[in-house]
Amino acid sequence: MKLLTTLAWRNLWRNKRRTLITISSVLFAVFLAIMFLSMEQGSYERMIDSMVKYSTGYIQIQDVLYDDEPSIDNTMVFDEDIELLLNRYDEEISYYVPRLQNFVLVATENTTRGSMLIGIYPEKEKKLNDMTDDIVEGTYLEPGDDGLLIAEGLANILNAGLGDTLVLLGQGFHGTTAAGLYPITGIVDLKVPEINNNTIYMSLEAAQWFYAADERLTAIIVMPENPKRTNQLAGKISDEIDSEWYNVLTWEEMLEDLLKLMKFDMAGTMVLMIILYIVIAFGLFGTILMMMLERKREFALLFSLGMKRSKLAAICFMESVFITIIGVISGIIVSIPVVAYFYHNPIVLAGDMAEAIGEYGFEPILPFSADPSVFYNQALIVLVLSILIGLYPVYKVFKMRIMDVKS
């Protein structure tokens, strides 16, 4: 075995330049693929992250009907039983955040617009999504506050400022009309344009009063101590909760459509990478083919001396695998610092690009993913490829007739 490995290894360096070029092409392909994937996965992770942070949380407890028909009528009662249940899992739950939210019409003297009105416990909400640093004007909410914390984008659209009064109009519990006048006590920059143009926060008590929905919540957002154990925790809560009234959802269930869309989008990248890999495969195959053709006399010599076909085949196979392994490893080594850099310093887009992306409701930055799968998936794909290519010389060696290659 050592002999075969030695031979394969030394054979690689008989034509140094060719081998290096082939290795470089593998390196380049792996590097490009990692960059693509890291960027794509990075923006997904970011999207999921901000969805989880700003809107869904990891786990939500809702009324059973709310998921199908999100209305104020399908809100849940937040009673002692639920609180006790959540307290029992204190060790596994980092914190939980109650919310009462619905769409309302917001009006000033000149403008009317639809917006999400979210009732929050200011202190609890802070743990999930600390907005205090993003307050542009005014102050954050206090418990029982009667003022509004309004997103900056919406404030601009409404042309309203601190201290102005807004008219809120919506549907309350069981068909009542919810209406009220509220002053703006704070303006916050919510970053993601889609959210920034459409969100108003008020204290939970004020919201419950506004919607005439005492004690009611649209959802309790539960944040696990360890997000990786989200499903287990959701399962446990689900087992104990009264399933006639309550429904426990994980972020994967809540964001199902988005996740599907991402998978679909991933397929596009895959096609691009397959094309990239096919080009590389041809290059590699060309090198392997040349290495076969130019060594026919050597093969004849080895056969004559009594080296078994399987051994010679193993040498040729190793040559192909060595080239790719070196290429893959160096590709990964080269991309690690680049990915690490952009992971910590995401590219900030400017100008038209930023606007275009902003319109879709995403932050105008290109984050990178440092997930290990980005790396080992590449390694795996290229390795499988090299094994397939390596099978060609194996096949040839087994078919070769000594007398045909001897002279």
Partner: protein
């Protein structure tokens, strides 16, 4: 003297597009232990074909090759590979050495495949390189050796594993006169010292008289079989 190789009605016919060629034609020969024999004849007389047949590299159209008591003409390929590895040493006209291995590694190659112990192999390889006058070139790769030196390494390899016999197809064809004589002298000496049967083909008049038996082929058939006392 013990017979090592025996051929009976050994025949090889090539079906070329023009007409079938009888490259080896009903050859009946015996080779004894320790022989030093030259197969001579003009180009195209069938020397290479004959050596390929008795070396188990090619299959006869008719007839048999017996090595000791083994008929190799009908042997399965995988067995034949192993048989060659254990019993036959080869020296070819050119392209004898594995380019990526040093002289010592090339000489050790057969023993490596035979899974000989490292110490024994090492000792034998160095000893054989000394025997062919290349103790200075132990760690040199073939591309740094002259044609004559390369052929000497090939001879050292062929004999290092102590095979039953060694076949050398025109080993001097690409060498200048001095190197050719030198190679034949070494072959002749090792043949005596190691008592290994050595058969070489040549159409080179310069070296024929080194052999103790000379078999002449004409159109694939044996036309003369002479023995000399030298």
């Amino acid at each position: 003297m013990k017979t090592v190789i025996k051929t009976t009605d050994l025949t090889k016919i090539y079906n070329s597009s023009v007409a079938p060629v009888k490259a080896v034609d009903k050859v009946n020969l015996e080779f004894g232990e320790g022989e030093f024999t030259a197969i001579v004849g003009p180009s195209g007389s069938g020397k290479t074909t004959f050596l390929n047949l008795i070396g188990g590299l090619d299959k006869p159209t008719e007839g048999h090759v017996m090595i000791d008591d083994t008929d190799i003409s009908n042997m399965k390929e995988s067995k034949l590979f192993d048989f060659r590895l254990r019993n036959i040493g080869f020296v070819f006209q050119s392209y004898n050495l594995i380019p990526v291995l040093t002289a010592k590694e090339n000489v050790s190659f057969i023993m490596l495949l035979q899974k000989e112990s490292k110490a024994k192999m090492e000792k034998r390889a160095v000893e054989m390189l000394e025997q062919v006058g290349l103790s200075e070139k132990v760690d040199v790769r073939p591309s740094k050796l002259s044609g004559g030196q390369q052929q000497r390494v090939a001879v050292a390899r062929a004999l290092a594993s102590k095979p039953k016999f060694v076949l050398a197809d025109e080993p001097t064809a690409n060498l200048d006169t001095e190197s050719a004589f030198n190679l034949l002298d070494i072959m002749s000496r090792l043949n005596k010292e190691e008592n290994i049967t050595l058969i070489f083909s040549t159409h080179d008049q310069r070296v024929i008289n080194r052999a103790r038996r000379v078999i002449t082929l004409v159109d694939g058939a044996v036309s003369k079989d002479e023995t000399f006392d030298r």
